[in-house]
Amino acid sequence: MDRSRSLVGAGSARWLLAIPAVFFGLFFAYPLVRVVLRSLTLDGGLDLSPFVEIATKGSLRRAAWFTVWQATISTLATLLFALPGAYVVARYRFAARRLVRAAVTVPFVLPTVVVGTAFLVLLGPSGPLGVDLRQTVWAILAAHVFFNYAVVVRVVGSFWELIDPKLEEAARMLGATKARTFATVTLPLLLPSIAAAASIVFLFTFTSFGVVLILGGFGYATIEVAVWREATINLDLAASAALAVVQLVGIAAVLSVYSRLQQRHARRLPLRPAGGVARRPSTPGERLVVAGALASMVLYLGAPIVTLVARSLSTSSGLGLSHYTGLFQSGAGPVAPTEAILNSVWFAAAAMVPSLVVGLAAAVVISRRSGRAGARLDTLLMLPLGTSAVTVGFGFLVAFGWPVDLRTSAWLIPLAHSVVAVPFVIRTVTPVLRSVQPRLLEAASILGASPRRVFQEIELPIIRRAALVGAGFAAAVSLGEFGATAFLIRPDRPTIPTAIFRLLGQPGAATLGQAMALSVILMILTTLIIMTVERQRMEGAGDF
């Protein structure tokens, strides 16, 4: 569609394509194909009867229907709740803005079991709402919004920050009302990033597992729950593989619709370097908006977190730190928290590197390739988000035994984490890259800059902020990941989530308190890591 794309970096884009292609092929497609084939041929020949069973089972059709509609409603609800937050965080300066931006991500990394118990308290008959919402679909939706709030704030917020307010100011000058300006100028500009965030939320809730089990009770089941049940309780590998394939096909269908929409709405706009846009709220109205959005954010995200913190501090003798000190006393509790924390940090750091390299390469290719090819790559790389953790874990096991036995290598853990984290980097970077003015690239290229130089001098400074947000995301994904990790056979190195599970597995007030304490440590660690990663941008951009 535009010449610049063929002018700039057709060659380098092809070369760059190799990075995501090899990564995705080796660590996702290949293990997946291997495990599905292995599972369907366990008794010799290829047995496709599990597919027939799925199609005819009533409980499964119900699960499929429930999966689709709860994911749709959850996504819409998350957008509704989180967009005001994204706006305020992107456009206004206020005290502790950086902290808020990092802290918003905390729910995202918390283990579902831990948050689940907090929600059970809040939504129970003696909670602040005063109604018993346990084992209802409302509980599921509320938790989905809680967990995915960060996705919208971060993906949309980091893009919103780059939109030049002059566009809106111009519209206002020409007489448009605030509402009209938003509807006709801001919203259309934001659409690509909103769609990007929505697609992630949709996939996450589509494959929701822990939330559905704990808060929904047994009345609700997603396809993911069925995959897991077949693999770990019924021990029917064939059925589990067939279900995983069905889930994947469903997700691929949804994603291709999404990418068509995305293509139609992508547009170029003059972006500003990050940071220059945010300002202090000046009018009383603005102050009210900021205060209102922050208050609702604090209330909604804060309530379950405060519940957790309170439980971690409540001891037999009133408030105190005894659960924290107990955690670190050698021999007092059943886990080694220091080791778990170090392992988690190590895995997160290790996962960030491939996520960033692969994610950036893919984002550049996707944004430079015109039309279908880019969209297809985009869709393909999203698939891991919608694939069941059991299948990915088993796939690694089947695929990496030969020629060198890597199945029990500790490196598989950060690699498995990056397979899930790459889409986040792509999702934060691509909308920004897509809106880079082609004229800039064209001019540079005509003036003789090599494709690499074009990337370094023009695209990189613009996407720096988005890339760091993506890297922070990757760290968060790794810190909180439990599913795929648990389904790999791995050298026994506890991470924070596995240590929390260990503590929760034992009755006793002390172990429960320590599990809560370790969850709080996970929250603080996540906030710190994300703040550290994102601070890097200040050196380049000269932000606040």
Partner: protein
């Protein structure tokens, strides 16, 4: 291709090993021990084995017990470990049908009760009973006595008091379902389905996992809920004492000895191991008193060894049910998913 791979791996293993031409290993070896995620020992226990034998034990954790079995099935041609620990009788049938293990009779079996020995291919290491637990003060507070049998739970005074776990998503939940099937049977006037229908009529609460049942809905001990009876383990009351905060002298919860289901955990030597001799030594060590006496406080189950000394809390605050329910492993394997489906129909409709 795969055959070539297997041959290469075998070659690599042989050259990397002691250099013997025969697969019979001797001298110090590395033994890969695959366990579920809930395997824990005191720090020095495995080190003692290593010091004694010169072998090195590499511990691999593999998800929950069901996932571990399926992982072994998937890697049968190129096993990921040498010894597997933690497969229990609810999943044993599947592993035996897939020929995952080779036979081994450890000399230590002489000290293990016959009731725990289910198959010559696997060695019983420990057992735990899934039993009803109740909140002692909670039941006393409403003037209800603890249930004596499972059937009591359908009486009106127990309405709204019980919380259980879903058998399709929770291991104790499945064990409890199996207990009801063993006790009430499949035929007769009052089969297990009727019992469950009565439980539903008596307002039983079903949760997905043990954590949300015990912490979220149970009122006893560290539980934060309002139901005084829960499906948990016979070892939960001692845990409530050991991990109490502040320390207590009496357990706040107790066990109902009727209607328990026994989960026996086994160790097995994986077929295809390049170090069968070292693997046998490790299994022998698992039946030693040193290992056996380390089990209760780490994994909260009972040692299989008859003579193993139990920690004080286990003696004082719980009992081992004398006649727990048991079902043959192959019967469980053949019917598990059908039973769960039937259960869902009874309970959800």
């Amino acid at each position: 291709m795969r055959r070539l791979g297997t041959a290469l791996v075998a070659l690599m293993v042989m050259t990397a090993g002691c250099g013997d031409d025969t697969p019979e290993d001797s001298g110090p070896q590395t033994i890969r021990l695959v366990t579920h995620d809930s395997f824990y020992l005191s720090e020095g226990t495995l080190a003692a084995f290593e010091a004694e034998t010169g072998h090195t034990v590499e511990h691999l954790a593999a998800g929950d017990a069901g996932a571990m079995v399926n992982q072994a099935v998937l890697t049968r041609d190129n096993p990921i470990g040498d010894v597997m620990f933690g497969i229990d009788n609810t999943f044993l049938g599947r592993a035996l049908a897939e020929d995952l293990f080779v036979e081994y009779e450890s000399p230590g079996l002489a000290d293990v009760p016959d009731s725990l020995k289910l198959d010559p291919r696997v060695t019983p290491i420990d057992f735990g009973d899934v039993c009803l637990n109740y909140d002692i003060a909670g039941l006393a507070g409403i003037g209800v006595s603890p249930p004596a049998t499972l059937a009591d739970l359908t009486k009106p005074e127990y309405a709204g008091l019980l919380v259980v776990e879903h058998p399709g998503t929770s291991s104790p939940g499945l064990a409890f379902l199996l207990a009801t099937i063993a006790i009430f049977g499949e035929d007769g006037d009052y089969p297990w389905q009727s019992f469950w229908a009565d439980l539903v009529a008596n307002d039983v609460l079903v949760t997905a996992g043990w954590e949300d049942a015990y912490y979220g809905s149970f009122s006893g001990g560290s539980g934060g809920g309002d139901r005084p009876i829960v499906v948990s383990y016979a070892s939960s009351p001692p845990a409530e004492v050991i991990y109490a905060d502040p320390p207590v002298t009496e357990a706040p919860t107790a066990v109902v000895l009727d209607g328990c289901f026994r989960q026996i955990e086994f160790a097995g030597i994986l077929a295809g191991t390049p170090v069968p001799n070292a693997a046998r030594e490790l299994v022998d060590f698992m039946l030693s008193r040193e290992f056996q006496e380390d089990i209760p406080l780490n994994m909260f189950v009972f040692p299989a060894h008859r003579e193993a000394t139990l920690p004080d809390e286990f003696v004082r605050y719980t009992e081992i049910p004398s006649a727990p329910a048991l079902l043959p492993a192959d019967e469980i394997d053949a019917n598990r998913s059908m039973w769960i489906e039937e259960w869902i129909e009874v309970v959800a409709s």
